[in-house]
Structures are given as C-alpha cells and as structure tokens.
Amino acid sequence: MNLREWLEEELTNKEIKENISYIIEKAKTLDKDYNFMITFNEEDPKDYQETKLKGLVVSVKDCFTTKNMRTTAGSRILEDYIPPFDATIVKRLKDAGAHILGKTAMDEFGFGSFSTNCAFNIPKNANDVTRVAGGSSGGAGVITRLLKGEPHVAIAESTGGSISNPAAFNGVFSITPTYGLLSRYGLIDYANTLDKPGVMASSAYDLAFILNTIKGRDERDPTTHDYPLDFLKVLSSFDPSNSKIAIIKDYEERIIDKEIKNSLKKVIDFLVNEGLEVEEISLSLTDAALASYYVIATAEASTNLAKYCGMRYGKEGDVKGKHFDEYFSEIRSKYFGEEVKRRIILGSFVRMAGYRDAYYIKALKVRSKVIKEFKQHLLNYDFLLAPTMPILPPKFEDVENLRPHEVYALDVLTVPVNLAGLPHVNVPLKTTLSLPAGLHIISDHFKDANALAMAYWIEQNYKGIF
C-alpha cells in the first residue's frame, strides 16, 4: 500500500496499528543489512484513525530534534543527547498524525558526501550493499528506496546537496525547497544561511502531500516564508506544454559516468518528442560556486560548532579544577571526528584577520553573483535541467582513498543551486545497470510547486523512471 492508498483506505485504529507495526518490523529487519537507522522510536503507535496522516510512517534525519528521542547528528559528541523539544517540522508531522519511525543515519553534522563520516552506522546503498549510500542524508535515501511501495516518507536536510545526492544514488524522488520554505527550528545547524530541510519519497505526489503539511512560516525561525500555494493542486492542474526548459550544458559536460549521460539524453529526447521547448544554457561560475560554498559553509560551521564544549548537553567530563581552555579542547578533540576537525579549522582560517577579505568576504560576493546568474536564466526559462550527480554510487573501496578536495569536487553539480537557495527536485532515472541516475529539475525561488509538478508529470508519462 503506497501513501495515496494509505490515505484513501478506510482503516480502523487496530488495522492502522498492525500496518505500522509491520513497517517497523520490516525496517528493523532491513536495517540489519543496510544500517540506515541510528535510533528506532520504541513508542507504540497511537490511535491515528481520526488524524490527517492516519499514522503515516515518517523517518527523520538525525539532525532534527525529536522530543525524548535520542538525536545525535551522527556525532559522538551528541551520542547521549535527548532533546527536550521537537523541531517544528517534527511537531507539525506529529500534530497531523504521523508515526515517527526513528532517526536516519548521516555524515557527522552533515559533513560528507557518502555518509561514511557517520560516527555510528554507515549506511549501505539500497541497490548494492558494496556501494555507498550517498550523503549526508544517506540513511534517508536508503530507507526510502527499501520501503518503496509502503506508506513512508523521509525528512532530510541539504546544505550543499545532502538530499539530492543520496536521492540520486539510491533512486528516489526528493525535493530540496527554496531556502526558508521549511522551518529550521530544531535543526542542528551545519551552516545557517545554506541549511534547507526537505523530503524524500517514492513519488513526487508524496513529496507534494508532505510539503502541504509542513510548509510555511514559523515564528521560531525568522527566515521562513509563507507559501500559500497548495502543492497537490498545482500538481493536478499542471500543463507542461507552455514550459520553457534549458539544459545546463556545462553540467552535462562534467558527467563522468557514461550511464548517466545516456539516461539524461533519453529523458531529454522524451521531452522533445512530447513537443516541449528544450534549449541549452551555460553557467560560467560553477567552479567559483563550489569554492564559495566551501568557504561559507565551513566558516558558518566553525562558529556553529563552538557550542559543543562539554557543557549543558552533549558529551562532558569532570569540570573540577580545569581551566576552560583545557576542558573545552579536551572534550572537542576527543569526540569530534576527523572531517569535523578539518572543517572547523578551515572555517576558522577563512574568517581570520588577514584572510577574511580574501576568502569569506569574497565568497559572499561570489555567492551574490552566482544567484544573479541563475536568476538571469530563470527569467527566460521555467526549468533548468541537469544531471544530479556526475557519477553512479561508488563502491566503498573507491571512496576510501579519495583526497578531501576530491570529495568536495564531486559536489560540483549540487552545490551551486544550494548556494543560490533555489528549489530542486531529483527524479530517479533508469540506467542499463541495476543502479539509478538522477535528473535535477531546478526552478526559481518559490516556484517549488512548479518544479515538483514537472517531476510528477515526467513520473506519470516517462517509462524510464527507476
């Protein structure tokens, strides 16, 4: 039973509870082989019959706080943290009658592209356990694929591509909305001006349904915006025939794996055969966007992570007789992982007197230029299309020896659009292998519903969906 059938079916409380228990057991069994969860919710299902979501099972990336349920952000330093409050998104889901399945595995604080920087479980790709799950929302991608056909959606988060990357690697639909469409209250920060909660699901319809439940202004997050549009209505009334589409040519040229190139060509041929206007554009700032992103993201992360110092919550030691410098350094050095230390040092450096103008300030100005370049094209086109990732999900052994800057460079197709805060949807595409490729549909700020509607139309009409 998928999400739509689940909502349409008239089920008793007993039947709902039995279904939820079945999904929990299925997830627990699969987790033994795929490691996608950090913590399972052990609470019994409630009486959900009269609620909007009727006990829909939702997994939540472990960077969102969940009241009385362990929240680690994939880090040892938060290994025992039990939040006293729910993130706004979690609260809205619970209020609508969602059953929270638990917390999905992720790279520590979101720092990574393969989820191999998780301090606990390292998730394995849903289609091949010898391959990575993608990151940083790796667990969310894996469980969404494995529970395809069940009423389940995953809440994830993207700073530079952490939703699209695992969605493409595991073969699921995802949306990373416009910055500010979904509340960040209760999200454990990576980089405040870049962090965007989002959703993964088996269908674009499911994404639209959940966005209707969790979108909109939150007085606890002053960067949120109202979004009066009904996503489902936009999906049902969407007519693609008047859409102008552009392929980002230089993104296409950066594809490393031929399978992705072929899948992309096939879907573009389909759009052209359907009579849609498809042109090509070039973006001139792609490498600069990647550099700008890593400067800004690490700068913000280095200040955000200053709060983990062994006081109030998180791992702590004996404070007696210790000077604060010694105590803070001891706790942080002991419990932060390698990539966290690397990014804190980098982020501190780019903000230091003498370097700040050359790196941080310059990066902010480049960001402004990147946004202008995207928006200039979006005046002429409704959608920009691109491959989501340049590679198919790599094997664990192949990522082990990658240098950090080589890992960062693999984010080159997801980072610019995240830097610009533009909405983007991943559509999973078939390849000739048992692995998926990903198509990115990018639209202008707050045109999220249109991007999702285009994805839904392709899902309904194109035979090459993974």
Binding site: G180, P222, A291, V319, F324, Y327, L346, V366, H405
Partner: protein, 90 residues
Amino acid sequence: MDIEKVAKMSRLWLSSEEKKTFDKDLDEILKMFEVLNSIDVSDEKIIIHPTPLSNVMRKDKPEKSMSMEHTFKNTKNKEEGYFKGPKTLE
C-alpha cells in the same frame, strides 16, 4: 596555514599525525579556493541570505519556559539550579 595557531583558536588539540594530514589536506583545499581570485566582484554586494528577507516580528506574548527538569536533563554538571562549568580565571 599555521595549523597549530588555528587549532588552538578553535579549541582543538591535534596529534602530530593529524597536524601532518590536515596540513596537506588544507593546502589542497585552499588551492581549490584560488578560483575565487579570478572572479570580478567589484560590483557585487555582500549577501547573507539567498532570498530577500525583511524584518520578521513575532507577537510579544508570554509563553511557558522550559521546566528545570528538562533544562538540566542532559548534563551531570549542575548544582542548585545552575550549570557547572570549568574555571575561567587562573
């Protein structure tokens, strides 16, 4: 980059192995950042958020604070309604 200086500022102790590794990693990453030098940003203003934001105010209404029990739930370093921390003066 003076790794020791930046690590000290970041309240991190690094082993000699970590210093060596990070030194090489960060050199390579900073080389990747050099592309920023080639971009003319003389007409650009600094932007912090990608979407326009005006002042967002909320209603000034009293709300219940978090209980003491919840506030101190995640720490063992507490005493008589206060968090206990390390000393800040020698």
